[in-house]
């Protein structure tokens, strides 16, 4: 993910290892990824992050991050 700055910190984002600048908030991460916060949900280390806490919740080092959205299903 070359649009993320090179750094010493890593996360596991949707199953893949990525670099991330220390102190990045969930909101910043979504912005970096170009994702609309209104249509995704975010899990940090198996715990969902409430939407109104995105700006104030930092992504910790080595976090397992899941970002999901709705897709077609039955």
């Amino acid at each position: 993910m070359d649009y993320l700055e090179v750094t010493d910190m890593h996360i596991i984002l949707n199953g893949d290892r990525h670099d991330l600048a220390p102190g990045t908030s969930v909101k910043s991460l979504l912005d970096l990824l170009g994702l609309d916060a209104r249509i995704v949900a975010v899990e940090l280390n198996r715990k969902v992050v409430k939407r109104d806490l995105y700006a104030t919740t930092p992504v910790p080092a080595e976090a397992e991050v899941e970002i999901v959205s709705f897709v077609g299903g039955g």
Binding site: L33, D36, S69, F70, G72, G73
Partner: protein
């Protein structure tokens, strides 16, 4: 035309719940939803595809002013996975409704009722409106209801199989004992299958593949709309008894030859 359905305090005019998967295109899905007259559609929760920038969201093709979103936990094989997925779905969708699936087997996609009960109890405790997908086991349905499920969703046949209602007697029994709505989920292949489900007393029918996989999904969606109405009306109309022999519909008297 038919009576409304209320689940957990929310009222629906349509008794046909439709999926959003496997359509040839978003346009056809949207037209099918319109033709079906549905007011609730299911969606799945999946990882955002980080490589597919700018992909139009599924949600752009669903008129949420008229259609309520019901996220599912499809693909979950443990209670824990299902609970985590429900948490994500709630945050993504801003509602606490969840179609709860805990699958027991990849080939049949039948539910693992033991784990389903565990997950239902947990999510009900957390305040979710839980609609569990289960099989046509009256005891499992009763236990799910006792656990606080807002509806029970027994299958008619394996998901996507199109086999129709395999065990009408079980569905009848489930409906007779249920105090929450019974939604037949999975197995419908064509319109008459949906009508049969409703005639057995089901409160609603949920389907995806039967519409999305038809040669003409929009026409089949229309067929299903009419079939659900037909089945509901027939359920209320009190059908004639079955007899082995004939019963004349024209008078027996007044024949010119007698």
């Amino acid at each position: 035309m038919i009576d409304a359905l209320t689940i957990a305090g929310r009222t629906f005019t349509s008794r046909l719940v439709v999926g959003t998967g496997k359509y040839p295109s978003h346009e056809i899905m949207q037209a099918a939803h319109l033709a079906a007259g549905t007011e609730m559609v299911t969606v799945a929760v999946r990882r955002v595809d980080l490589s597919a920038t700018g992909a139009a969201s599924l949600l752009n093709w669903i008129d949420r002013s008229r259609i309520f979103l019901l996220p599912n936990t499809a693909g979950c094989y443990t209670a824990d996975e299902a609970v985590r997925t429900a948490h994500l779905a709630r945050e993504a969708g801003l509602s606490n409704w969840i179609k709860l699936e805990v699958i027991g087997d990849e080939r049949t996609l039948f539910p693992d009722n033991e784990a389903l009960l565990v997950a239902t109890r947990e999510l009900v405790r957390e305040g979710f409106v839980v609609l569990p997908y289960t099989n046509d086991d009256p005891i499992a349905c009763r236990k799910l209801e006792d656990a606080g499920a807002a509806a029970v969703m027994p299958l008619g046949a394996p998901i996507g199989s199109g086999l129709g209602i395999q065990n009408p007697n079980n569905l009848l029994i489930i409906k007779e004992q249920a105090r929450v709505p019974v939604i037949v989920d999975a197995g419908v292949g064509t319109a008459s299958d949906a009508a049969v489900a409703m005639e057995l007393g089901a409160d609603a029918v949920l389907m995806n593949t039967a519409i999305a996989g038809a040669a003409d999904p929009v026409a089949m969606a229309g067929a299903m709309k009419h079939a659900v109405i037909a089945g509901r009306l027939a359920f209320g109309a009190g059908r004639i008894a079955r007899k082995r022999y004939a019963s004349a519909s024209s008078p027996l008297e007044g024949l010119i030859t007698r």
